[in-house]
Symmetry: C2
Subunit: 170 residues, 2 copies
């Protein structure tokens, strides 16, 4: 099978977002063992002017969601960015993964040269589908996923490379 726009995107997103749910389980267990409220994680930052843990996960979800919606030319579901617990972040991830899986691969494939418009505060940016996936979506998705992971590690949650990558997939 040749690699396609859908095979290069959806399975990567689903896998990494699903892995985060496992990290949240370990974060809950760590908070219980150390007797602190797990909502403490939500506001943590690696630097005072970086986004907090909640935002890292919300943006990871939205980066994946908008990629699939834009490549396929369909509307993305709207989420309210109102999560205030690990359980609510888990639900956000679940809803995003369900959406990603609901869009047929055939609607995403062939979008390499499709013009994608990305709304930004300082005017919208236009990129072709393949460049958007490779040079905007994947770097952003992994940025937010890795930063969420780093925040949990920095705060003592026992995660390792296999939690980050997920079970080997041949």
């Amino acid at each position: 099978m040749s690699i396609t726009m859908s095979s290069a995107s959806v399975p990567v997103f689903v896998r990494m977002l699903s892995n985060i749910s496992g990290w949240l389980d370990k974060a809950d267990a760590h908070a219980a063992a150390k007797k602190f409220d797990p909502s403490v994680y939500l506001g943590t930052r690696l630097a005072p002017d970086m986004l907090n843990f909640t935002k890292q996960i919300q943006i990871a979800c939205d980066t994946a969601k908008f990629c699939v919606a834009r490549l396929a030319g369909v509307d993305a579901p709207k989420f309210d960015d109102a999560e205030s617990s690990l359980a609510e972040l888990r639900a956000r991830i679940d809803a995003t993964v369900a959406y990603l899986k609901s869009v047929p691969a055939a609607q995403i494939d062939g979008s390499e040269d499709k013009e994608i418009t990305i709304p930004r505060r300082d005017g919208s940016m236009v990129m072709k589908g393949e460049a958007y996936l490779k040079h905007f979506v994947l770097p952003n998705l992994f940025f937010h996923v890795t930063t969420a992971y780093a925040l949990l590690r920095h705060n003592g949650v026992e995660l390792g490379k296999m939690d980050y990558l997920g079970a080997p997939k041949t």
Copy 2:
């Protein structure tokens, strides 16, 4: 143009590794402004049991290097992991990028189902080329690139999203 194994890998690696060189310039400038030795960055870690800054960059380079070598079925150049300054890390990145650009795309394309063997301390792992790229190489590469970025941010270097992503590419 359809997305291919080479187009989904090499340009992503080259771009992200090249971006790091720009971060190192800003790290040098920050150290000069604050009057500390820039080699201080090299040993920094986000958690005591995470790898240090030098290792994050060495592994980011090697992840890209081995991916291209394995998909193309050619030998990878050997680097000594002896860098002890930002200048030497910049040279490591430059050598890696030169190698990535030297392998013809045609040798990488069509490797979706090729069996890739990844040597590991606890026995080797075998994955097909496309799964290897998507579920091992890209997550690992971005993990180490983002962790290097986070270490510089955590230590006060003024980097922003555009330094991370690089100039927009349509």
